[in-house]
Amino acid sequence: MELRFTQADELFRAEVADWLSANLAGEFEKIRYRGGPGDEHHFVEERKAWEQRLAEGGWTCIGWPEAWGGRGASIEQQVIFNEEYARAGGPGRVGHIGETLTGPTLLAFGTEAQKSRYLPGIRAGQELWCQGYSEPGAGSDLSSVRTRAEFDEASGRWRINGQKVWTSLAHESQFVFVLARTNPDEKAHKGLGFFLVPMDQPGITIRPIPQLTGTSEFNEVFFDDAYCDASDIVGEPGDGWKVAMGLLGFERGVSTLGQQMLFQTELDEIVRIAKSNGAAQDPALRQRIAEAHIGLRTLRYNSLRMLSDNADDGSLSRESMIYKLAWSSWHRNLGKLAMDVLGPEAELLEAAPYELSKLQSLFLFTRADTIYGGTNQIQRNIIAERALGMPREPRGEAR
């Protein structure tokens, strides 16, 4: 058990920091600290350009094997990259779904042809991806997929019909991965397929979802006779659930460290305000600010445990299972803390009619943190059932 990084790792850190300092400047200065959760709709064009700059420098997909353009970076190096990226104020990545979800999925389950077709575009920051998982009314029940994929013998392609929801960056993406039912006679986890679908086609319609923030980070995506090639299914028809579950596993990774650096920026801002507006003298707020600090450090060392453990074997460790519940609850509390530190000022918008301040946006948007990606209730079920071996929830027995 060792907290400090090796000298080689520290050299790597310096390299990352130098590159970022040289490149996240000039035209990119204005997108520093932008485009994070709740802010995804801002500076999209600039962030696409930035994605390509990153790619030119060899800083996309650094964890991928060198054969596919990555650096085969160690966990430590990936941690360092994410930390330095966040420390430098690196903007929210528009390519993160491709890099952290599609890529690892294809590396694990894809054919060589799929890898050759899709990995280079992701690696180059040229082809962006969005996800088609949740469906309206299904909420946290990922398996209740009603979107259908049928093999169209005439065209030799898959035809997809249905609707997905909570899709970020749908307008900006070239591709969407879609979980769809290939066998309409099978239910729940069975009879699903995992498809790679181009967005730019007549069969796909995108409708933004207006949110409580007045913005629309999320979209509904409608599939009305949308198509993808016969080869654009990952695995076989029926393998969809296995592929999707593998993909969910990739979500718990090194990006948590970068996320925490953003959280630290938010907490620092709250501390700064507290010191300037008198909230720092309020004993109840002092306790809560200290609690936020302790909580964030808890997340950090929890992640370090998680990453060190993951190096060991593939299974989810206990500290991984609690992570979503822990960070989302922490972040939601931070949003409330921000408001309480601001006091009456918390109500004042940046501008009429409804331009939120960064902290207001944090406050409102963090209410989504405990919902998307599995609500806190679902997370607790998962912890109880998988980590503690308690009985599964009965299905379909309500009265």
Partner: protein, 377 residues
Amino acid sequence: MNFRFSDEQRMIFDTASAFLAEVSDSAATRAAMASDAGFNPDVWQRLCNEMFWQGLLIPEDEGGLELGHVEMVGVLEKAGERLFSAPLYSTVLATTLLLRMPASDTRSALLARILAGEQVAVAHTRGDRDWATGGITASVTQDRVTLKGSSRFVSFGHSAEVLLICAHDNEQQLNVYGLEREHPGLCCERLATMDQTRAMAQLTLSDVTVEPSACLGTDVEHVVEDVLNVARILVAADQVGGAQAALDISVDYVKERQQFGRTIASYQAIKHKAADMMTKVEGARSLLYYAACIADEWRAGYADSATLAEAAAMVSASAGEAYFFNAGTGIQLHGGVGITEEYDIQLYFKRARATESYLGSPADHREHIARLLLDGD
């Protein structure tokens, strides 16, 4: 001792519910939010004509109904349930303040204008963390008074015909002055706020000169404090109503919603959250009715300022937290749609946050109670 509404009171509240169901549904609330003034003037006029709530607290000899705070609180609770967006609270606050000023022709004239449906608002605070009175000063000479400064978070100050200005004079005494909105040098602007259902204004006074007769009361710091404690109770009524509605709409939603093959209302995690919401709101409601009784006792001279302040602090802490808890938990029970603009739960959530920090935070109110309990001899 009887801690129950009379039949007459129940009738008032039923009538209130019916009226509000008609004029303050989701669409009406959203229309009011989107409007410049933050309310629908036609609804306000109907309220004044048909419900006469603006006259509920005003004595009969001034032309009002001379009912009590119990009735007022019950009506505001119903308004809170409906996210009612109108200058009702602001006008009741102004009325309460006016009724504590010495009787005068000026006062009677203002009360008559309120009864006729005009709006009066109160500017009492700078609006910083401690919500202390202040922000405006009065330079008093023999024949005129010059008012200077600004006040924030003046409820419906932008649409009021008359502003009651609390200002500290040369001797640090707090006085109250009545000003017409068009008074030269007075600027009333609506503030852009996160909660759009309770419009707030900023007042700026640059060398406003008034006659000494504009003064409605002098050296009334303690009176204003009492009135603000009544205000806290009125806000708590809104919070209890909102907390109830947040519970109700969330329970309705989860009863409809299916997941994993069951209505999600059948999951214990959901049921227990709802039970906690109900426990919070019923607790706050019990304190609210107590506080309303105390406000009536205070008005009648039976309860002193300290008792009123204690009641206000207790119910503000309790109702503020109940509303925020219920609205926040309500979003969680709604799941994904809870954060969409389409559903109303987020409107309750924003109103909960706004009212929770208005006139002091729950922690501030608890500290008030702690001082009473712990800092004596």
